[in-house]
């Protein structure tokens, strides 16, 4: 599914964020990317959906070298990826339903179909009665679930979540993780970047540890206790 060959990323004027990363991630895998702030977790995810350009090496997604994609190709790549961010990135002027359906509408799904799909997802994620609410009236946990619904609406092959629980209290964080892990049931590969070791302890997943931009450890199965399963 995903292959990284000697991937390095250097930000001007010469700060190295990632150094010589080699990875292979299979379809349907759950991968936790852990490390302290500045370890390169977010950069690694950003390279995967071409938010950042890599400095050296190659990244292949579904066999395609993503560095060679043109703008249209990047747009197509992103349609197959569901993105979840720490800060949710919801549009304040739209309702929860509209925020979710927007992601489907922009790839050509009809408005009606997008709305139906968005409603179903929100219902699945326990937000049935909140679909008409604007983001600012939602709790942090609810906002994150709306963002997850948006990431899921185009049935992505890959879900990338960057510190999805970073702004949440323990209860909301647990709920968010539960929802994210359920994405695997849909057959998606899920990669979650987090610095919260508690999550690692309670999650059965492959754990990739980054330290100072270098791959420090790649444990095929983490110290899972299966709490979220």
């Amino acid at each position: 599914m995903i292959q990284l060959f000697h991937v390095s990323k250097t930000y001007p004027p010469g700060r190295r964020a990632l150094t010589d990363i080699n990875l292979e991630i299979s379809s349907g895998e759950l991968v936790l990317i852990v490390g302290a702030s500045g370890a390169g977790k977010s950069t690694l995810l950003k390279l995967l959906f071409r938010e950042e350009e890599l400095s050296e090496g190659q990244i292949h997604v579904e066999g395609k070298n993503i560095a060679r994609l043109n703008r249209r190709g990047v747009a197509r790549l992103r349609r197959s990826i569901g993105l979840v961010f720490q800060e949710c990135k919801l549009l304040a002027g739209l309702t929860a339903l509209q925020n979710v359906s927007l992601a489907a509408e922009v790839v050509g799904v009809s408005r009606r179909e997008s709305r139906i799909k968005a409603y179903q997802l929100l219902r699945e994620l326990g937000l049935k009665d909140r679909h008409d609410a604007k983001p600012l009236t939602l709790s942090a946990g609810e906002q994150q679930r709306v963002a997850i619904a948006r990431a899921l609406i185009n049935d992505p092959l890959l879900v990338l979540a960057d510190e999805p629980t970073g702004n949440l209290d323990a209860e909301a964080a647990e709920e968010t993780m539960r929802v994210l892990l359920r994405m695997r049931e849909r057959g998606a590969t899920v990669m979650i970047a987090t610095h919260d070791l508690a999550i690692v302890d309670r999650c059965e997943a492959r754990v990739i540890s980054l330290q100072g931009g270098v791959l420090a450890e790649d444990a095929p199965l983490g110290l899972a206790r299966g709490h979220f399963r």
Binding site: Y11, P12, F49, E51, E52, E53, R71, R72, A75, R76, L77, R78, R79, S80, I81, L83, K89, L91, L102, A103, E105, V106, V107, G108, V109, S110, R111, R150, N154
Partner: protein, 307 residues
């Protein structure tokens, strides 16, 4: 583009027009002022050309014939001149006729001619040109051609004022494009700035659209369409203002100033002129948005990637 995407773009355009109505009105107003000035020059040019054509209809080239030509030689010369492609009509005036015409023109003072020999006035042919050949170069060309005729002694035509009027039309045309060019450039930046503001106002939305895989065309299309609507609306307003100015000038100012006497009624812009104004409005709006978008979204994309 899929029907669903067209619907999406239309909804976004509609939403933006409602949301930033006054910004759009202001931009359309600016475009309309530019095109009003440009259209004003078009109107002036149209009417000067009409004036030139109207005067051109009265322009005649007079070719004086050598004395002592036989009737057959005169007839041959008239036939040759008549066969020129630029010539519409030829009228031969014999020496006798010229004498009588001059006498009539002098009226009560015709006694002044007593004692003069009748051969003092030469026979001539008066040549009217076809409407499409009533400009200075064509008239000059025909005159030169006539001078080559051995039976013609001299050729007269009002060369100087034809050239001056022709020059005036040319100057108006140049000024129109010069003024137009400067104003278009200004409009271009104003439309571009409005679009830039619109992008800034919807920056988050554009960013999210980029992240969920919206194509560049889909992101840009609403902004370009908004620019086109602004340009088109501006051109329509300009045309309406020109029509009002035309009616005012026609009904109130012009008769008082006596401007209309040489050509009769003033003429409004031709359909193709109005079409040109609308097309320029559309072009200014579309390219102003597009260039601003390309520059702004790409710069922003690169800078956000490096942040």
């Amino acid at each position: 583009m899929k029907l669903a995407l067209i619907g999406f773009v239309c909804r976004r355009v509609g939403g933006s027009l409602r949301q930033s109505f006054w910004t759009h009105v202001l931009t359309a107003g600016t475009v309309s002022m530019t095109l009003f000035v440009f259209g004003g020059f078009m109107l002036l040019e149209t009417n000067l050309q009409k004036l030139l054509k109207s005067w051109g209809a009265q322009i005649q080239i007079t070719a004086y014939l050598n004395s002592g030509l036989t009737a057959a030689e005169v007839s041959d010369t008239v036939k040759r001149v008549q066969s020129l492609p630029e010539v519409e009509r030829v009228r031969h005036t014999s020496q006798e006729q010229a004498w009588r015409d001059f006498q009539t023109a002098l009226g009560s003072q015709s006694t002044l001619l007593e004692g003069l020999p009748r051969e003092v006035l030469p026979a001539s042919i008066e040549i009217s040109l076809r409407p499409e050949h009533r400009d200075a170069p064509a008239i000059d060309h025909v005159a030169q051609r006539l001078k080559q005729e051995t039976q013609i002694s001299s050729v007269e035509y009002p060369q100087e004022w034809i050239e001056r009027l022709g020059l005036l039309v040319l100057v108006v045309e140049w000024v129109k494009w010069l003024f137009g060019g400067v104003l278009f450039l200004a409009t271009f930046f104003i439309v571009g700035s409005t679009v830039k503001l619109a992008i800034l106002a919807r920056r988050e939305e554009v960013e999210i659209m980029q992240l969920v895989g919206a194509s560049e065309e889909l992101i840009q299309a609403p902004f370009v369409i908004e620019g086109m609507i602004q340009g088109l609306a501006g051109a329509a307003i300009a045309t309406a203002l020109l029509a009002v100015a035309y009616v005012l000038l026609q009904r109130e100012i012009a008769p008082v100033a006596g401007l209309l006497s040489p050509v009769g009624d003033l003429e409004f812009l031709q359909v193709y002129n109005v079409g040109m104004l609308l097309a320029i409005g559309l072009f200014l709006g579309a390219t102003g948005s597009l260039i601003s978008l390309r520059r702004f979204i790409r710069t922003w994309h690169v800078s956000s990637a490096r942040a």
